[in-house]
Structure formats: structure tokens, C-alpha cells
Amino acid sequence: MQAMPTITSRKKLELIVDRAHLRRFIETLERSGVRGYTVLESTSGKGTRGAWLPDRLTDATDRVVVVAVAHPDAADHVLEDLGALFEELPGVAFVSDVQVLRPERF
């Protein structure tokens, strides 16, 4: 018989940014207390700068998706910092509510 696992609310941050700027966004996340993240590659998309396709020769046009589940306090911090960073660098960010197992990890 297993004990029912503890489920707790956390925030999921999703960022879609240029790969060339990934390091700066990761630094921003970490500075705000986000303790884990996962990066996925995007293969095409469209935004205010128009549609893009991956360029096979240079990675200059590539976009990545960063997923980070974090404590709501950390998420608030991140959003503040992202607001400033997005004045300089292109990209999109959104936040939603998730329930997690083992909340002490986030």
C-alpha cells in the first residue's frame, strides 16, 4: 500500500527565445532563484518578426523553448527581470499553474 503523494502548487514558466540569447535568459532565471529548467528545440514558428524556418547553415535564426517549474516567489522575480530583458532581446514568455510531486525540489 502506498501513501498518497503530496501534491503542491508551483508555477511553470515557458520562454521562447533565440538560441543565441539562451545563456542570458538562463542567467536571469538562476539569479531569480529558479533551481531547474529544461531546454527544447523549436523547428519553426511565427511571431511579431514574422515566420521563421531553421537555417541549415547558421544557427543564427534558431529558437529554443525553456520550461522551468519554480516556486511562485521565484516566478514573480523572474517575471520582473524578464520584463526588463525583453526590452533588449526578442522573445515570448508565459506562466501557468502546475501541481508537482516532491515540492521541496522547486
Binding site: D18, A20, H21, R23, R49, G50, W52, L53, P54, D55, R56, L57, T58, D59, A60, T61, E88, L89, P90
Partner: protein, 322 residues
């Protein structure tokens, strides 16, 4: 001028045309990205190594100094000319104009390889050290472009020359591989060449065909995006290589460079980057729209040079330098 016909009938150019046509017609033909990148590494390793082996035979003379000088002059100077043309005749804003200008001051390795292959067909020789000039010309234009973008801006640049940018400018993959292979070719000389010739020598032209098939696909995908560009910008993509070529030809004539080397330097001046500079610009000028530069350099200037430019520059150089 039956050179022109013979260029057009070389397998290398025909495969480029095949890829270009397939792309324009929206064929489902596609070369996997990893393969395209692999072929590009192969080409740089091969030409770097061959250049180095060449250099291990020759003793360097004053021509080296003039070629390097002309190359650096083009790298720093052509962006300024390009920027002036773009700001004077097109609607591009400062940042975008600076970014495009940087692309045109730098070079296209594939155009260079196609040109050296063309010279091979005409039995025109050239000096091995020109490969070093290829590598040297990759990045000065980036610095010129940044200067153009920031000139006359009140606020100082925000983040300076950070790690990412240094990496893209000075430790750019193409530069490192070209110079590294050159050094290895120079160190190991003929013995090294004998060991790896069956990989980098004999099959080279065939691999180049496959690579240009892919470049044709890539160029036509970019060209299709040119529909949205203002006409004068497209014209720039055809005029700027001629400006660069003129600089290269006249400079070579003044310095008395040997024909083959002069032609390759001219091709370098006429070509525009679509690998190293775009990567650096994403980091250094994130506000610039990469669509402009890639459409121009890859969609317009690259095919122009492959099909028209190389034979024309060769013809002119032979007339001028004999």
C-alpha cells in the same frame, strides 16, 4: 567567352542549379541539416589542409603582405561603403544597415571553394596562403559593423564585448577550423597529404557537388523570401559584389598579385557571409532583423557570384593583369 559556358556546364554549378530550381519549385527535396553542416566542415578541413601543405613548399614573399593587407582593408572598408549605399539608397534603418554591411565585408567560404575549383578547371594556380586570408577576412567586418551600429549613439554600448561575442568573433568555428587545418597541413606537409589525400583530395569535387545541391536549396528558400524586400535592396545584393570585386581587382593590380591569387581575393571581396556573421550579429545586434542579411547574402549575392560573378571576375582579372 566560352569560359562562361564551361562554368555553367561544370557539375558543381549544375548541381547548384538543380538545388536552386528544386527549391524554387518547392520540391520536397531536402538535405538534412547535420549533413549540410558536416559537408561544410569537410570542405573547410580540406581546403585548410591543402593550403597548409602548399605553404610548406613555398617561401613566403611580399605578395603575402599585400594580400593580407588588401583582405583586411576589404574587411574593414567594404562595410563602410555598403553602409553608405544602404543608408543612401534604401530604407534600412541604422542597425539593420550596419548588420547587412557587416555581412558584405566578410566572406563566403563556399563561393571561395567554387572559385578555386573553377580555377583548377582552367589550370590557373594560386598560392596556399590565400586560405589564411580567407580565415583572416571572416571577422574584421563584424567589428566594423558594430562600430557602424553604435556610431553617433549617445548611450555607451550596454554589455561590451562579452563572452558570447568574443567566441563568435575570434573563436568562430570556421576561423578555427580553417586556420587549424592550415597549420596541420603546414606541419605535416607532403607526408600528411599522402596519408589523407584519399579523403580530402580525390573525392573533393564530388562532395562539393552534393554541398552545392544543398546550397542551391538554401539559397532559393531565402530568395523566395525576397518577395517582401524593397527593389533597391535587391539591387544592392547585385551591385555590392561588383563594388567588392572592383576593390579586389584594382587592389590586386596595384599590388601586382599573380593572376590566380588575384582572382580568389576578388571573389572574397565580392562574396558575403551567411555563416559566421549572422551568428555574431544575433549576439551583438539582437535588434537587427536577420531576414534582410540572409536573404541578400544567401538568396541573391551567393547565386549571382556562383553563376555570373566567378567567370566574369576571372575574365576581367586575366585581361587586367596580363
Amino acid at each position: 567567352m566560352d569560359h562562361a559556358l564551361s562554368t555553367l556546364l561544370s557539375p558543381v554549378v549544375l548541381f547548384f542549379g538543380l538545388g536552386f530550381g528544386a527549391g524554387l519549385l518547392r520540391s520536397s527535396l531536402a538535405v538534412p541539416e547535420a549533413l549540410a553542416k558536416g559537408l561544410s566542415l569537410y570542405l573547410m578541413l580540406a581546403i585548410g589542409f591543402k593550403g597548409g601543405v602548399e605553404m610548406s613548399h613555398a617561401h613566403l614573399d611580399a605578395d603575402v603582405v599585400s594580400t593580407v593587407g588588401l583582405g583586411l582593408g576589404a574587411g574593414f572598408g567594404l562595410p563602410v561603403v555598403a553602409y553608405a549605399l544602404l543608408r543612401g539608397f534604401t530604407r534600412l534603418e541604422r542597425i539593420d544597415a550596419a548588420s547587412v554591411a557587416a555581412h558584405y565585408g566578410s566572406i563566403s567560404v563556399v563561393t571561395f571553394v567554387a572559385a578555386s575549383d573553377y580555377l583548377g578547371g582552367l589550370s590557373i594556380g594560386f598560392d596556399g596562403y590565400i586560405i589564411a586570408v580567407v580565415a583572416l577576412m571572416e571577422t574584421p567586418a563584424i567589428i566594423a559593423g558594430l562600430w557602424l551600429a553604435q556610431r553617433g549613439q549617445g548611450s555607451p554600448r550596454r554589455r561590451g564585448f562579452d563572452r558570447e561575442l568574443t567566441r563568435e568573433v575570434f573563436l568562430n568555428g570556421s576561423v578555427v577550423l580553417l586556420l587549424g587545418s592550415l597549420a596541420i597541413g603546414w606541419l605535416t606537409g607532403d607526408e600528411g597529404m599522402r596519408a589523407i589525400e584519399p579523403f580530402i583530395g580525390a573525392p573533393f569535387k564530388g562532395v562539393l557537388c552534393l554541398f552545392l545541391l544543398d546550397m542551391g536549396l538554401a539559397a532559393s528558400t531565402r530568395l523566395r523570401a525576397a518577395g517582401g524586400l524593397e527593389l533597391r535592396l535587391i539591387a544592392f545584393g547585385l551591385v555590392m559584389p561588383l563594388v567588392g570585386a572592383t576593390f579586389g581587382l584594382v587592389g590586386s593590380a596595384l599590388c601586382g598579385l599573380p593572376t590566380g591569387t588575384a582572382i580568389l581575393l576578388t571573389v572574397l571581396c565580392a562574396s558575403a557571409s551567411y555563416i559566421a556573421v549572422p551568428a555574431a550579429m544575433r549576439v551583438a545586434l539582437p535588434q537587427a532583423n536577420p531576414a534582410y542579411s540572409l536573404t541578400l547574402s544567401l538568396g541573391i549575392t551567393f547565386p549571382f557570384n556562383i553563376v555570373v560573378g566567378i567567370p566574369v571576375y576571372t575574365h576581367l582579372a586575366r585581361a587586367l593583369l596580363h
